[in-house]
């Protein structure tokens, strides 16, 4: 509907001035091709410049000419979409679908390419910051040249799409810079200067966009919504949209940018590599960049570091665990079974809402109880009670009991824990005496140590083994030590059954669900079943809110977690059942680690192990344990024996799932979907992380699709609502006897029909001129058209309402004129 202000009668004005003057509108329709071409070049320069800056800064080996050709063609297509409105409406959705299809089809290559690009960038950052490690994500396809080229093509296409909107529609320098400048920072931040050609292209696109925006010589007629033809009110006529002037401006920008780049680049190059003093703000950002490089994006959400081993009892501050793939420990030993070997480094006794605290009992009480020498002997007794008992059992049953030697070397760990397997005997070789981790010993200087231990074999204390009773039956040889044993039992039962109030409710709910058990082994099994049925393993469970209890939050709300969650919850559940339990952290040696172990052929197995291992063909092996092998578990106190490890963590889906989760941010598109298998037989890396279905990414797909559909629905609804509102307003006016809106509406429809029929009029043409053109095309209808124009003029400018008869007459005459035009065009 056309709404016109009730301006003064034009005829009166013309009479008064003595002349009639029509300022011609600018000739927008000439040089549309050149305007689109200039815009296409700008889009091409901006997108290629961005891609090229990354490639040249990091010296990536890709097929740059291919990327340039693809971007050039795509930029041309995008810019020329704006040549014609119909073409634009038709082709843009097609481009969207084609782009989406291509992403789906080549997701493996794209994903692999992105991983490759990020790995290269991380390596450069690691070298720049002199980091000992950086995160690496596995690439599904080893041919980086191919995958990175494809990835850059898609990145370039995406950039071109976004930049085209900014340039073709609005010529917005701000948005062009926002979309491209951050990519430039990748290299500039670590003093990796991009190539001069790409810097020039970017600079040219910025300067040209700014100048064209300032001049206004970039708009095509459809963009000129604010432009109106000459009216009494409007007195400024801007003749913009000059295609030739636009090209000349681009030429001036080109020359200026070329000159500036040529002048400054050699100077930049010569000064770039100098190590200048780092500013304070950069130091701060350097810290976060290092964190990002080492631990990934989610590390920003961690309250403390999530890699490098254990967290020393801290709970709930890790949003996502990431692995740095660096070796933390090197362990040399003889594997005795396929069971997991636990190397304990930390024991947590007291539970607070967000941490396990190491035992720190008050020795005074014991001293008072036992006094002096007796206290010393007590600590000696209690420090290796389990090892002693197993050793004694071994003396009875050497056929099944084993004794082994283990050498542990701390490689990438910077803590002061001693990592010992079950059940380690004290010896002089150990840097400190092992007690029951009553307190953590400090060992700053020791990196390599050997120990003697009695390997934990399940059917020692397999909970159903008959040997358990025999071991338990082994008591202290003399009465005094028996007293110590009683006191030891009493102490464990007192100090390791405390349950804080904050998690009692959650534990009650869980215990009601689990039910009761006849024995500890049965209870442990029930708890394990409960966890595996109701909770699942995840390395990205999210951080616990600071004001919430860690165990309660896990049991009642979170529903997923990693070893720390299950170990803490399991420990508290056992305590809730009145069974002494404590929390442990350390490293584990799994069967999969043994598969990658190095066999030491020169070593004699008998030097490392006495007894018959349950594994056949075992030998002396060296196993490298990365931080992915850091683990948390529970120790349960078995009266008469001591502390025995149990593991409540359910098995994870895939060992490499941790890496795949980290790829979410880097490969948002392709990482959402199933990687599948490449069709061309290109070899894959050993890791299949990129190819695995990333279930946790599916949660992004559904909301994204929903949001897109919602936006589309809103746009359609708004369009419909506007039209409906106009229609209802017109109907309402008609009901009151005012048919002027109807006349305006009919005129608008007629004008649209005339434009479709290629009559030389536009939306900006004055009604009087439109009717003049119509009169010239339909000379036989001149009188009727004059009458119709009179009705229209009165409806638009007059104060009186238009009557129904006049409105009907106007409608009839305009429809007749349109039909006549159609007949004439068919005859022609």
């Amino acid at each position: 509907m056309i709404f016109h202000s009730k301006s003064a009668n034009k005829a009166d004005t013309e009479l008064h001035t003595g002349y009639k003057m029509a300022l011609p509108l600018a000739q927008y329709h000439t040089m549309r091709l050149q305007v689109c071409l200039a815009k296409a070049l700008l889009v091409f320069c901006a997108s290629l410049g961005t891609v090229g800056c990354i490639v040249s800064a990091f010296s990536l080996e890709i097929n740059m000419p291919l990327i340039a050709i693809c971007l050039f063609l795509f930029s041309m297509l995008l810019a020329f979409l704006h040549y014609n409105h119909t073409f634009f409406n038709l082709v843009y959705p097609v481009i969207f679908f084609v782009f989406s299809y291509a992403i789906l089809k080549y997701r493996v290559y794209v994903n692999s390419g992105f991983q490759g690009i990020m790995n290269v960038i991380r390596e450069k950052y690691r070298d720049y910051f002199v980091l000992s490690y950086s995160r690496q994500t596995s690439e599904a396809i080893s041919n980086r040249y191919l995958t990175m080229t494809i990835a850059f093509v898609f990145l370039g296409f995406f950039l071109a799409l976004m930049i085209n909107i900014a340039i073709s529609n609005y010529m917005s320098t701000f948005f062009t810079i926002v979309m491209t400048f951050p990519f430039l920072q990748f290299g500039l931040y670590i003093d990796a200067l991009p190539g001069p050609l790409y810097l020039f292209l970017l600079l040219f696109s910025y300067v040209a966009a700014a100048l064209l925006k300032r001049s206004g010589h970039f708009m095509l007629s459809e963009n000129r919504r604010k432009d109106k033809p000459y009216t009494l009110k409007k007195s400024v006529h801007s003749y913009k949209g000059n295609g030739l002037l636009m090209l000349q401006l681009c030429g001036v920008c080109f020359a200026i940018c070329l000159f500036l780049t040529g002048l400054t680049y050699p100077i930049m190059q010569s000064h770039f590599l100098e190590t200048d003093e780092v500013s304070k703000p950069k130091e701060v950002t350097d810290h976060y960049i290092k964190l990002l490089v080492q631990n990934g994006f989610y590390s920003f959400f961690n309250r403390y570091q999530a890699t490098g081993g254990m967290s020393d009892g801290r709970l709930g501050g890790i949003s996502s665990v990431s692995s740095d793939q660096e070796t933390d420990l090197t362990v040399t030993f003889v594997p005795t079974s396929t069971d997991t070997v636990y190397l304990k480094g930390f024991t947590g006794e007291r539970y607070t809402q967000d941490a396990w605290l190491a035992p720190d009992y008050d020795e005074t009480e014991l001293r008072e109880q036992l006094g002096g020498e007796a206290f010393y002997r007590y600590t000696m007794f209690s420090s290796q009670i389990e090892a002693n008992r197993v050793a004694q059992f071994r003396s009875i049953r050497p056929d099944i009991a084993l004794q082994g030697k283990m050498m542990i070397e701390k490689k990438d760990i910077r803590d002061n824990h001693i990592y010992v397997p079950y059940f380690t005997q004290n010896s002089e070789q150990l840097p400190v005496a092992i007690d029951h981790s009553v307190r953590n010993k400090q060992s700053d200087l020791t990196t390599t140590y050997s120990l003697s231990y009695f390997p934990l074999v399940k059917d020692y204390l397999g909970m159903t083994s008959p040997y358990y009773k025999q071991i338990v039956a082994i008591k202290a040889a003399n009465a005094e030590e028996y007293d110590y044993e009683n006191y030891f039992d009493m102490y464990q039962k007192v100090y390791y059954k405390t349950v804080p109030q904050s998690c009692k409710k959650a534990l009650k709910t869980a215990t009601d669900s689990i039910g009761s058990a006849e024995s500890i082994p049965e209870l442990v099994e029930k708890i394990q079943t409960y966890f595996s049925s109701n909770y699942h393993y995840s390395l990205s469970p999210g951080a616990t809110p600071p004001d919430q209890d860690f165990v309660s939050y896990f049991l009642e709300e979170q529903g997923e977690g990693f070893c720390v969650h299950f170990a803490s919850a399991g420990t508290m559940l056992l305590r809730a059942y009145g069974i002494p339990a404590r929390y442990c952290e350390g490293y584990v040696i799994k069967l999969s680690n043994l598969a990658d172990a190095t066999l030491l052929d020169t070593e004699d197995v008998t030097d490392w192990l006495s007894g018959t291992p349950r594994m056949q063909n075992s030998g002396v092996v060296t196993v490298e344990l990365p931080d992915a092998n850091a683990h948390a578990w529970t120790e349960v106190y078995l009266e008469g024996f001591g502390w025995y490890p149990v593991d409540f963590t359910p098995p994870s889906l895939n060992a490499d799932e941790a890496e795949e989760n980290e790829s979410i941010f880097a490969s948002l598109f392709s990482g959402m979907f199933d990687g599948g298998q490449p069709d061309d037989g290109i070899s894959k890396n050993t890791g299949d992380a990129a190819g695995a279905i990333n279930e946790s990414n599916l949660f992004l797909l559904i909301p994204t699709a929903f949001v897109l559909l919602l936006m589309l629905a809103i746009v359609l609804a708004v369009q419909f609502a506007r039209r409906y509102k106009c229609y209802m307003a017109m109907k309402k006016a008609c009901r009151t006897g005012n048919y002027s809106p109807l006349v305006s509406y009919q005129y608008a429809r007629t004008l649209k029909a005339l434009i479709r029929k290629k009559v030389p009029v536009s939306k900006q043409t004055l009604p009087s001129d439109v009717f003049e053109v119509l009169s010239s095309l339909l000379p036989s209808m001149q009188e009727e058209l004059v009458q119709a124009y009179d009705i229209l003029e009165r409806a638009l400018y007059g104060k009186a309402f238009t009557s129904k008869e006049k409105a009907d007459l106007f409608v009839k005459q305009t429809n007749k004129a349109c039909k006549q035009l159609k007949r004439n065009s068919m005859k022609n």
């Binding site: 008064h16 002349y19 003057m21 003093d191 001049s215 206004g216 010589h217 006529h237 003749y239 913009k240």
Partner: protein, 345 residues
């Protein structure tokens, strides 16, 4: 406002670069800063150079036209500079003293390098009079919209609009007043024995006998002699420049009537005086008319005279004065009347 925005944007970018320089402490940011600081000077000088090579002119194909005809008015901006000028602002106005002045238009045009831009405005002259078109207040901005350059160039041209060509009017027999004998040879143009009052250039239609051959040989232009009229009788066409505020067409009608009667007299080979009352000078202006070109010139002079709002001021003043130059033909909006207020046509 726009200038403020440009400065604000520039300042913002400079601030960002300064922050970058402090953050990175690398020479490349300093280079960018230097480039940004140089930009305003470069922009200023480029624009100044371009302005030095700019010429502006206004043109119309014809300075005289007839009522209802359309003539284009062109404003041409020509640049011989390597640097384009993004927007040249100027004000354009077309007005006539006889009519209401429309609001001046502000126009913005850009010129390319070594290029010109012609804005051609078709004007249809609906009424009679002298229309003055002027383009003034030229100025432009530099590329960064920091500096405004005023261009000292004012262009103007005038277009005189005459009534359309007409057929010979049918005049009342009262035109043939006493003293005029249709059978008497008109001596109004004078004869060979008459005194030469003037020498002027040849106008087609002049008698060959009137050619001043000696002067013609000297000047290489045909020159003719004007002889003193031997007839005592002549017509005086008095144009009434009365503009009726209730009827804007009144002046048009009066001029048209004056023109038509004058053309009729010319067609009748009558010598007459064409005159009007100039209210500004408080005096009459009379022009002897023997040919259409003289009439045109006289009419243009009439256009320069202001219109007055007193009805019949010219007639009344003429009658009240001692000026009696001949048989009066009073041309007003209602028609042409003699000095006895009898309508001639």
């Amino acid at each position: 406002m726009r200038r403020f925005l440009s400065f604000a944007t520039y300042g913002f970018v400079m601030l960002l670069l300064v922050l970058f320089a402090l953050f990175f402490r690398q020479s490349f940011v300093v280079m960018l800063l230097v480039i940004m600081m140089v930009l305003p000077f470069a922009s200023y000088h480029m624009t100044k150079h371009a302005l030095g090579q700019l010429t502006i002119r206004m043109a119309t194909p014809c300075t005289q036209t007839r009522k209802g005809e359309t003539l284009p008015l062109s404003i041409v901006l020509e640049s011989r500079s390597l640097f384009p000028l993004l927007d040249i602002h100027f004000t354009f106005q077309l007005a006539s003293a006889y009519y209401h002045s429309a609001k001046p238009l502000s126009i913005v045009i850009g010129t390319g390098m070594f290029g010109s831009h012609a804005l051609s405005v078709p004007v249809t002259y609906e009424h009679l009079g002298l229309f003055a078109a002027s383009a003034y207040d030229f100025y432009t901005w530099d590329y960064l919209h920091f500096f405004r350059f005023d261009i000292a160039a004012k262009q103007s041209c005038e277009v005189a609009v005459f009534p359309p060509k007409c057929e010979r009017m049918t005049v009342h027999e009262a035109l043939y007043a006493e003293g005029f004998d249709e059978y008497e040879t008109s001596e109004k143009r004078g004869n060979a024995s008459s005194d030469v009052t003037d020498i002027r250039e040849y106008i087609p239609g002049d008698r060959l006998q009137a050619i001043h051959w000696k002067l013609t040989a000297k000047t290489d232009k045909l020159m003719v002699k004007e002889f003193e009229s031997t007839s005592s009788h002549q017509f005086v066409v008095l144009l009434e420049l009365y503009k009726n505020p209730d009827n804007p067409l009144s002046l048009d009608a009066a001029i048209t009537n004056a023109y038509q009667i004058s053309m009729t007299l010319i067609m009748m080979n009558e010598l007459f005086l064409f005159g009007f009352y100039n209210d500004a000078l408080s005096d009459f202006c009379f022009y002897p008319i023997t040919h259409e070109d003289q009439l045109t010139e006289a009419l243009i002079n009439a256009y320069y005279a202001p219109a007055y709002d007193t009805p019949s001021l010219g007639f009344d003043t003429y009658i009240g004065s001692d000026l009696k130059k001949g048989s009066l033909l009073h041309a007003c909006e209602k028609g042409v009347f003699d000095d006895f207020s009898q309508q001639i046509c």
